[in-house]
């Protein structure tokens, strides 16, 4: 907080104390207070313009008291007190919507107090300190005076926002002025609009309009449109007008003050102007062009940052759909777009700026409560987000030397965003009323939970200032008033108490915020290196602790120290492993989007819930798991969940449920996807599999084996193809991806009740579970997941084909033997299979037996690439540091098998290699 506001706050306190002891005839104190306030107002930094305005209002009221124009001195003084509390709130933090709202309310009250004063409009300007002027005075007493002034559109507009919806006289006045203006106007379109507005006003004036407030807004819109072309000639007056029209309700109290334009820049209106005027001409949008000297680093950073921003915004937006009134979420989304807009503008990316800007305008309307983030508006916001993502994609492409393109629908979207209502977008959701109810319910619950301890009423009750009943009573009568204001008005608590309670509330809220995760961005390669180094440290430490001189048992002190270091090193290792873990939260929230989109497309009603999204998983796996999950979630919604009618028919709830959960179990991460749809139809699956020739007969297949058929390529039980799924490719990809992560997937399903997909994944990709095998003097690591079994064959199990190809028989299955020592040309290895061990491995086609000397045991190793100096070695997938610090090679069994198949005569091959 700046020193200025510190000072201001302390003098505010002084002034409030003075105010409390103020007597009606104590002009001395009154002047003192006035002077103090003035000083604060002057000293306030620019960003606190709202607070500044409020102070000026207070001065106005003080002046009124001074001149004896107030009906009720105590009331006025009290209002000033409350207003000053609001000022305090406003300046003791960065300007934000909450403080703005508080200030707004205080202002409204003050103005009400002023407007009941017996003073006439002409008297008003004499309130010396107020730098207000003649044409913007709002008081209803002004009606007669200003009616003659309604000669220009913006004056009408300015007047419009001051009138009360109930005030039919004002409406007729407006009607008259509009009619007059319309007859003056030379532009036919403007004429038309004005006539329409006049008709509406007339209707409202005669009380025919069903909702006066609505008419007011409508008239405002019409006037706004009418004044649009005029804009070019008088751009200064227009922005303010448009802003006022945007939110007739909330802006009303602020309108009369001249300082108001200070607030305007953050409103969407001024920026909207070039958009609209250029609309008819510029339908073709040229993509941005990266200049040669563009800062690629900067752009890359921008893309990365913006993607993250948008990702965060997306989940906030989705949450917003369920609870449209969550201010925090709105702000998150708003901030994201705003940041993107700002950065894009800075980087000269006009198209991005344009889109982000329009989306921001839409969001600002949501933020200001003008529209609710539901149905069409939510869709529109999401579409803008997708478009932004696409554009980041193309920007990245351009950075990498490609061409920057604009998404096809860019122009269309821009047009819709410019005027959503005209494009038929509305807040109505498409018949998902039941869903809304459900969401409403859960939103209600979460709202209840939310901030329970930080509600002003609770704090006041805790402070013992009021009883719970009083708070409830105040709340029940509260119509748009702040609780604090109500309680002060009713004389239940003093402004001081409110101030204290507000301070506590503020602290509670900030505490809540700061308890969130704080993080530092670290480049991934640095992180990887750190983790490598820690791994190395562990090996070095274990070498040290097994040093002979320690094992002799004479060096107690040293042994103790080494043991201590060992402990630290182990902790460090745990920590470094934890560093690569990130929660599944982002992945899960992406799925929420998938569910939403697919459900809408298929006309299904789906309630999506997630659980355990804080479960952590290796950073590298997060991306890998997203793809299969998308497929599975899509399938669950498209194939699993039935249409609402079908669900009702089968006696289920109309709303389908899809549940995605994750947890740790037995050193694995388990991700479960459960739906309560129709389940897998094993008969249908069998029939399809037989048709496609995937199986020979349907006999002897267990239930789970049948379900596993859905992973086969080309398998799909969907009767018809949709653009969502049904081509039978998805599940094949799912299995591949999961297997590439060394994971497993299991299915259980009950017909008519739903299915459960369980994915088990290792905690991290970096650690491979491997079997250490010895061949001659060499040791290799065979990934355990690739080993079916290993055994030592008896003599009679071995047979040769044509004296060369060796086969081994295991449980009736004949498998070729691959001699690793031949393949890798390793001397001094065991050549007789009956003395060594056979490890059964496989490639896609068939199983083989790998001959090794012996199995040394299971190890967890960290897989690393071999140095670039050796290139790709067939049969070897990488290396790993073994416990003794040496490098062990990790075998790629599938490659080995195909290698052996390519060179059936390994011996000859390796010998020729020797010669070479």
């Amino acid at each position: 907080m700046s020193k200025v506001s510190q000072d201001a706050i302390s003098s505010l306190k002084q002034i409030r104390n003075d105010l409390n002891s103020l007597q009606p005839d104590d002009t001395q104190t009154l002047i003192q207070i006035g002077a103090g306030l003035e000083q604060i107002a002057v000293g306030l930094p620019e960003e606190y313009s709202a607070a500044n305005e409020l102070i000026i209002d207070c001065l106005g009221t003080l002046q009124a008291i001074f001149e004896g124009r107030t009906n009720d001195f105590v009331e006025s003084a009290k209002l000033i007190g409350v207003a000053l509390v609001a000022v305090d709130q406003g300046i003791s933090s960065v300007p934000n919507p909450i403080t703005d709202a508080i200030i707004e309310h205080a202002k409204k009250n003050l103005q009400k107090a002023l407007s009941v004063e017996p003073a006439t409009g002409e008297d008003q300007p004499t309130t010396g300190e107020t730098p207000s002027d003649e044409d913007a005075q709002p008081e209803s007493a002004d009606d007669e005076a200003s009616s003659g002034d309604l000669t220009t559109l913006d004056k009408v507009a300015a007047f419009l926002i001051q009138i009360e919806p109930e005030d039919t006289d004002d409406f007729s006045l407006i009607c008259e002025s509009l009619k007059a203006l319309s007859s003056q106007s030379s532009v036919s379109s403007v004429k038309k609009l004005l006539t329409k507005a006049a008709r509406e006003a007339n209707k409202a004036a005669k009380g025919k309009s069903s909702d006066a407030q609505e008419s007011l807004t409508l008239i405002g819109d019409l006037i706004e449109q009418a004044s649009e072309p005029a804009l070019e000639t008088q751009p200064e007056t227009e922005p303010a007008l448009e802003t006022k029209e945007e939110k007739p309700e909330s802006r009303k109290p602020a309108a009369p003050k001249k300082d108001q334009p200070a607030e305007v820049p953050e409103k969407p209106a001024p920026e909207k102007q070039p958009e609209k005027s250029s609309k008819p001409v510029a339908k073709e949008y040229e993509p941005d062009v990266l200049t040669d000297d563009a800062d690629k680093m900067l752009l890359t950073d921008f893309v990365v940052e913006s993607r993250e921003n948008i990702e965060a915004a997306e989940s906030a937006l989705l949450a917003l759909e369920t609870e449209p009134d969550n201010l925090e979420n709105i702000n998150t989304v708003f901030r994201a777009f705003h940041t993107v807009k700002g950065s894009a503008a800075f980087l000269g990316l006009a198209r991005l700026t344009e889109l982000a800007h329009l989306a921001e305008s839409l969001l600002s309307r949501i933020r200001d409560g003008e529209i609710r983030c539901t149905g069409g508006y939510a869709d529109l916001s999401l579409r803008s987000m997708d478009m932004l993502k696409e554009m980041f994609e193309s920007l990245q492409n351009a950075i990498d030397g490609g061409l920057m393109t604009l998404p096809n629908s860019y122009g269309d979207l821009l047009e819709i965003l410019t005027d959503p209502e005209a494009a038929g977008v509305s807040g109505d959701s498409d018949g998902n009323s039941k869903l809304d109810e459900l969401e409403e319910e859960s939103a209600e619950q979460s709202r209840g939970k939310l901030d329970k301890s930080s509600r002003l009423g609770d704090i006041l009750v805790d402070m013992g200032k009021v009883t719970e009943e009083q708070v409830m009573l105040a709340l029940s009568q509260k119509d748009g008033e702040l609780l604090g204001v109500m309680l002060v008005n009713e004389g239940l608590v003093s402004p001081d108490d409110i101030e204290k309670a507000l301070a506590i509330q503020k602290r509670l809220r900030t505490e809540k915020k700061s308890s969130g995760e704080s993080s530092v961005r670290v480049r991934t390669d640095r992180l990887d290196r750190l983790i490598d180094m820690v791994g190395e440290l562990v090996v070095a430490q274990s070498m040290l602790s097994q040093d002979e001189s320690l094992l002799r048992g004479t060096q107690f002190e040293l042994a103790r120290k080494v043991a201590h270091t060992g402990k630290i090193v182990r902790d460090l290792q745990d920590l470094s492993m934890a560093m690569r873990m990130i929660p599944l939260k982002n992945t899960f929230s992406k799925m929420a989007r998938v569910v939403r989109d697919v459900a809408q497309k298929c006309g299904k009603i789906v309630y999506f819930e997630t659980d355990g999204e804080d479960t952590e998983i290796d950073r590298n796996m997060v991306d890998l798991i997203a793809d299969p999950l998308v497929h599975m979630v899509r399938n669950a919604v498209d194939h699993g969940i039935e249409l609402p009618e079908d669900r009702i028919q089968s006696g289920k709830d109309k709303i389908g449920r899809v549940r995605l959960s994750a947890y740790h179990a037995g050193g694995n991460v388990v991700v479960e996807l459960q739906d309560d749809g129709k389940g897998l139809d094993s008969k249908k699956l069998l029939k399809k599999a037989l048709e496609k020739g995937l199986i020979d007969s349907d006999k002897g297949l267990s239930e789970s084996q049948i379900y596993n058929l859905i992973f086969a390529p080309g398998m799909s039980t969907a009767e018809k193809l949709t653009d969502v799924s049904g081509r039978g490719v998805g599940m094949d990809v799912v299995r591949r991806n999961i297997e590439s992560m060394h994971g497993r997937i299991e299915i259980s399903s009950e017909k008519g009740k739903g299915s459960l997909f369980t994915i088990r994944l290792p905690l991290t990709l970096a650690i491979t579970d491997g079997m250490l095998v010895q061949v001659g003097s060499e040791r290799y690591i065979v990934p355990t997941v690739h080993i079916y079994l290993s055994f030592r064959p008896g003599n009679n199990a071995i047979s040769t084909v044509a004296g060369r190809g060796e086969m081994v028989q295991l449980r009736g299955e004949l498998m070729p033997i691959i001699r690793l020592h031949n393949l890798f040309n390793i001397p001094n290895a065991i050549e007789n299979p009956t003395e060594g061990s056979l490890v059964i491995v496989a490639d896609e086609k068939r199983r083989c037996a790998l001959l090794v000397d012996e199995l040394l045991g299971q190890h967890q190793v960290v897989a690393k690439p071999l140095g670039s100096g050796v290139g790709k070695i067939p049969g070897v997938s990488g290396g790993a540091i073994l416990g003794d610090g040496r490098v062990g090679l990790i075998l790629d069994t599938a490659e080995l098998v195909s290698l052996a198949r390519q060179n059936p005569n390994e011996r000859g091959q390796t010998e020729s290699q020797k010669v070479a």
């Binding site: 490598d532 100096g869 050796v870 070695i873 490098v887 090679l889």
Partner: protein, 173 residues
Amino acid sequence: MEKETSTNSTQNQVSTEKVNGGKFLTFFLQNEEYGIEILRVQEIIGLMPITRIPRTPDFVRGVINLRGKIIAVTDLRKKFGMEDIEQTSETCIIVVQTNGTEIGVMVDKVSEVLDIADAEIEPTPAFGASVPTEFLLGIGNTQGGVRLLLNIEKVLSDQQLLEFTNEALSQMV
């Protein structure tokens, strides 16, 4: 052999490349003293257990664990077609940086870090087909004797290795 002659023709080109003087790390292979630009050298480590890599040319000794990083080790003796000798306590591995990666180079012993002036560097003379001179930047003719200045990048990014692995890969397909 044919290849050698063809590279010989590019010989002139190599020698016309300006070789700047500066500090060189010198080492021995048999009785010959070689030099590597010191800026290429990351570190010198003693011999450590090397894991042999199957199906690679014999001059690739294998891989070692350099503080958690796996790097390949090339045996320069084998590379230059010299005889194999017993490893001694002086045998060591010079870790060099080429093309952003580290590669170990096994040599008989490391000698010293030497300043060789521009003027002392002579272009590589042509020896004819039998001597692979394409690996040389030039010859440092100093008072202490003659040092063969290696173009280590060329030595390590040798086609031979690439061809070998490509061949092995193509067998698999």
